[in-house]
Symmetry: C2
Subunit: 418 residues, 2 copies
């Protein structure tokens, strides 16, 4: 598929993240106005609440855009999703008969504030990137026992806190927590000393299910994808995670990018999961290419300084697709709801510059990495700004994810001061 031309000129650029081929969905506001749904096109946002009010865009004759979330649209089902995309493509295409009617509803992106695009129903985070699991396992158990026995048979995951999911741009306060230094006999309550990022992608469940579903059904139920940074307190995690898994270490915040990139936009970039060491059981078997070839990167900028690229990787490094994760999530009969968010797990490539966390980049803090500023890092310092980016490269166009950014604020001096 080539670049689809739009009458919004800024969208007709091979490197622009938001061409007509993309049509990502978000929630925005402009100075003094309510949060509402919009679709990005080039350097603009089409105000869908206003377009709906004017009768330019209607879905199932039900108003769904004058709300600060995409859950209502998702609730209408995949036929409505397809109809909306078709209508938006028609309205925004070069030569559209709707151009004059739509132009008044374009808002310059530069004037907009972006908000959480969905109400997160529940949040699950997986551990389904093989290089990451191997690296972390090697650090803790040695290379011969790096992958737990179950790892090659099921996508390992844990339930996170939906309440802690925030939109890109939200500052992240370094947490306090109970932790135990190796040289101390007893734990202490202290600010986290090993605060980290995790470069992930998030899949958004758009269709509910109530019982086990197949991998194909799971893929059908996914509405779209975002970038996701799972902020992680490694020292809190080390002390708390046995035997029931990470809890407060992962509850400070998880950042997501503000634009939902829908499945149709990513369709040309589908790719297979890697070769399997063990054949997967039937209920998890691949039923087509369900990963995507999406270049990912993360940069770190110390306060007031230029950013250094920490890692470059690709979503196709995943061992399990989001569809396989979602299918596994339902095996026990677990009901899934519209707005559930599934984190992929940290995405690391095979080599050091492809590692998606400082835990791996600094090998547990033992090998500080150098920034372009001349500084070094083992874990995050106060004032550091992390920025995730993602893009799929088509034939003369780009499907961009925008950015997922967050700045680390110093820990509170006294978390119980009122």
């Amino acid at each position: 598929m080539p670049l689809l031309k739009s009458w919004v000129a800024s969208a007709n650029n091979a490197d622009h993240p938001f061409p007509l081929n993309n049509l990502p969905y978000g929630v925005f506001s402009t100075n003094g106005t309510e949060e509402r749904c919009g679709v990005a096109i080039g350097d603009s946002i089409l105000d869908l609440a206003a377009a709906e009010e004017a009768g330019l865009v209607t879905v199932c004759d039900i108003p769904v855009f004058d709300v600060p979330y995409w859950n209502d649209l998702m609730d209408l089902g995949s036929e409505a999703w397809d109809a909306l995309r078709a209508r938006l493509t028609e309205i925004l295409a070069e030569g559209s008969a709707d151009q004059a009617a739509a132009e008044p509803f374009l808002v310059p992106m530069a004037e907009a504030t972006l908000h959480m695009p969905i109400v997160v129903s529940e949040y699950t985070d997986f551990y389904a990137g093989r290089n990451h699991a191997f690296n972390v396992g090697t650090m803790f158990r040695g290379p011969e026992n790096a992958l737990p026995p179950n790892w090659l048979h099921i996508p390992i995951g844990y339930n996170g806190r939906a309440s802690s999911v925030v939109v890109s741009g939200t500052d992240i306060r370094r947490p306090w927590g109970q932790l135990k230094s190796p040289d101390q006999e007893l734990p202490a309550f202290l600010p986290c000393r090993r605060f980290d990022l995790e470069l992930e992608m998030g899949a958004i469940v758009g269709t509910a299910s109530d019982g086990p579903i197949t991998v194909q059904e799971a893929d059908d139920n996914i509405f779209g994808y975002v970038l996701l940074n799972d902020w992680s307190a490694r020292d809190i995690q080390a002390w708390e995670y046995q035997p029931l898994g990470p809890f407060q270490a992962k509850a400070t915040a998880t950042s997501i990018s503000p634009w939902i990139i829908t499945k149709p936009a990513l369709e040309p970039f589908r790719t297979d999961t890697p070769a399997r060491e063990f054949e997967l059981l039937d209920h998890l078997k691949d039923c087509g290419p369900m990963l995507y070839d999406i270049d990912l990167a993360v940069t770190l900028a110390p306060e007031g300084k230029d950013a250094t690229t920490l890692a470059k990787t690709n979503y196709k490094e995943m061992y399990y697709s989001a569809a396989q994760q979602l299918a596994h999530h339902t095996t026990s009969g677990c009901p899934m709801n519209v707005g559930d968010l599934l984190g992929s797990g940290t995405i690391s490539g095979a080599t050091k510059p492809e590692r998606g966390s400082l835990l791996e980049l600094s090998w547990g803090g033992k090998e500080p990495i150098s920034l372009d500023t001349g500084e070094t890092r083992t874990f995050l310092e106060d004032g550091d700004t992390l920025t995730l980016t993602g893009a799929a490269k088509g034939d003369g166009y780009t499907i961009g994810f925008g950015t997922c950014t967050g700045t680390v604020l110093p820990a509170l001096k006294d978390p119980y001061a009122r």
Copy 2:
């Protein structure tokens, strides 16, 4: 405090679970009517939606009862909670001037269907009963390593699935899952063979928080308590839980009792947590008696047969109170919301007849237990009905929790048949 007399005669009985001292909150419907809020009094329910409509009960001049959840009332804050309880006590007391006005709104309990009392925002399950943790740890690691190093310093917990929480009376379908028999080299996808109950209590968060809160603040933020059965697939759990904790093993269902017993009803039964082996860090220190003396029991009835008491225990067996669990939950800055549900963890006493799970009662399946019917059990069989009960015994009155029940249905023959 003695029995408070009501003009609802059935409530004036020392053994009745719902005297005027209790006033538990639930959601009910009668044949063909909408689900709405009510308060139990003796053998009746006072229809609060109707009483509100008639102007008999008003809270902050905002209608909050003609909805199928108590979240709106909780949202109004603890002063509103207190005002409601005072007004209900006034209306339902013996000699009340409101008797004639209220009588038309009494619905016989026998004619009502009970529903989920709240919208569960998120669900967390703890592992904070010492005897249970010691028993399980002993089975897997021996008595000298039974408690993990962190256990005596923080209430260990994991995030569960809010979508899987159901009200008492809901049938529970035996799950399928990936599991690996000790005698097999590879896992298989099979119906669970070691399906279990966990006798717990649930605490309902009634006030939101956004940052670390003290144990006293946490106690203030709790609205009330319910009985909770955390249905657990032990074989699925054994295969999946390393390294990130239980996931699908705990996602089939968690049952809660339909009546929320509020903190004021439980106030006379406050009791201290047990002696501490290690002094807790300041942020988790007890600041008063925050457990409750509540007798708990669980029975098992095979299909069509009489029930056998499996275990009797007491909520005061907990090592950490719900207030300590909630305070710990916020240490990392994790936002907590109205309607969050915290499971206590399995409550077991020191002796065998006090163990709150079949895993402990049958010692991992090695020592089948005998039922009064002559049958034996290691884990649950299809058709088994489990019933949890709870009651605090006052001076001439009872604060009852009602029952939390569920029947095990056979696994689906083919979970992917459509």
